[in-house]
């Protein structure tokens, strides 16, 4: 979700449902046409020779359209990467056995806890050292360590952060998602990382959920599953982190003990689609679906993922890169580099060394 989309979403609230639905329906054909084109191009012989999969084509076509002819703002209401990826993830539950999910989930949660705690503190330290103020440093640290856009919004809410600073962090998260989603699988393949380790590394490092799924899909189906589970483990922590940050600010920084945040914050910010994913995985593990039903679900899920990948491209404006720079960007890059190395070591230990 880009900063533009955030503004668009907020404008959306005030708009009548009928108008929003019309905009959505008008924008949908663009998405469908680009998705079909991406899948068609990926099946041509030269794409197969060069390994240009539908994921890459989808992101690339979206990028080309957004940065050349552009799309009218109201039609962008159909470009909901987060929504499509969440629907796809609920359906992906049917492909992952509940037992595997528990193993990946527990390891993913251990990794997520270690990554969030360590990277948050390091990112905060770097930001402070580079001269950013306390609130900005907290929002930036949450964006790098937890889950990009959602975490940055949650942290900004908890510390009552500045809207401009939040928008800037969101711009950095969105702008860096595309290069990372393409480069990480290339690096992983160059050093022959096992798919589970690559998935855990991708899931723990890339900030936005759609980009994690795209990058995992580029590495392969096993990496995609692990990356998705690890990312969802991290998403679950957003509420906890937002609650702890809010408590810290209310009690320590602003010293207003009467404004104690409610633990219900954890539930409010809990990613509800994870519940859908878990239920579908459980139903599939109880063998309630036939082979042909699972095959249809898998195809529908791939289409929703393709829609989301096209939306990643459509949501990335090269103009956003021009805005980046200065101390916040340096802090973000340094913290993200630390995140890449630290998560790599953890992913290797948890998903390769420990059985």
């Amino acid at each position: 979700m880009g900063s533009m989309e955030v503004c668009l979403k907020l404008a959306t609230v005030e708009m009548p449902l009928r108008k929003r639905a019309i905009d959505f329906i008008l924008g949908l054909p663009i998405l469908v046409i680009l998705s079909v084109l991406a899948v068609y191009l990926s099946q041509l012989s030269f794409s197969k020779t060069w390994g240009l999969e539908f994921v890459l084509w989808a992101v690339l076509l979206g990028l080309i359209v957004r940065n050349t002819i552009g799309v009218p703002e109201r039609l962008r209401r159909a470009f909901k990467a987060e929504l499509y990826i969440k629907i796809g993830l609920v359906l992906l539950g049917a492909k992952i056995l509940f037992g595997d999910l528990l193993v990946f989930g527990v390891k993913g949660m251990v990794q997520a806890l270690a990554v969030v705690l360590t990277v948050f503190m390091v990112a905060y330290y770097i930001s402070k050292k580079l001269g950013l103020d306390k609130k900005f440093s907290h929002v930036l640290a949450a964006g790098v360590s937890i889950c990009g856009v959602s975490a940055a919004i949650a942290a900004a809410g908890a510390v009552k952060g500045d809207k401009k600073e939040l928008t800037y962090v969101i711009s950095m998260v969105v702008a860096l998602a595309v290069p990372m989603l393409i480069l990480m699988p290339i690096i992983g393949k160059l050093i022959s990382l096992p798919p589970t380790v690559a998935g855990a590394w991708i899931g723990g490092t890339i900030d936005t959920t759609p980009a994690v799924v795209a990058s995992g899909a580029l590495y392969g189906q096993d990496a995609l599953k692990v990356a998705s589970v690890v990312k969802m483990s991290q998403n679950v922590l957003i509420g906890v982190a937002a609650f702890l940050l809010a408590v810290y600010y209310a009690l320590k920084v602003e010293k207003k003990s009467e404004e104690r945040p409610s633990p219900l914050e954890i539930w409010y910010r809990f990613p509800k689609f994870v519940l859908g994913f878990l239920i579908v995985s459980l139903l599939a593990s109880l063998a309630l679906f036939t082979k042909s039903q699972l095959s249809i679900m898998s195809t529908v899920q791939s289409w929703f993922f393709t829609f989301a990948f096209v939306c990643i491209g459509l949501g990335t404006s090269f103009g956003e890169f021009k805005k980046l720079g200065g101390k916040p960007f340096a802090a973000f890059i340094l913290a993200q580099t630390f995140n890449l190395i630290f998560t790599f070591i953890l992913a290797w230990l948890l998903f390769s060394v420990i059985p």
């Binding site: 979403k9 969440k86 049917a94 919004i153 509800k272």
Partner: protein
């Protein structure tokens, strides 16, 4: 703060919407209303 509260409200509704759409699709597949989807992804 209104800005942040609205983003949170939108995020929550989008989360539940994704679960609802996912379950409706699965229900349609299980009852046999969807029996074919174009293109097989490899």
């Amino acid at each position: 703060m209104v800005y942040l509260r609205r983003s949170l409200r939108l995020k929550i509704s989008e989360d539940w919407l994704s679960v609802a759409i996912g379950f409706i699709i699965i229900a349609l597949i299980v009852i046999g209303a969807i029996t074919w989807v174009p293109w097989r992804f490899v």
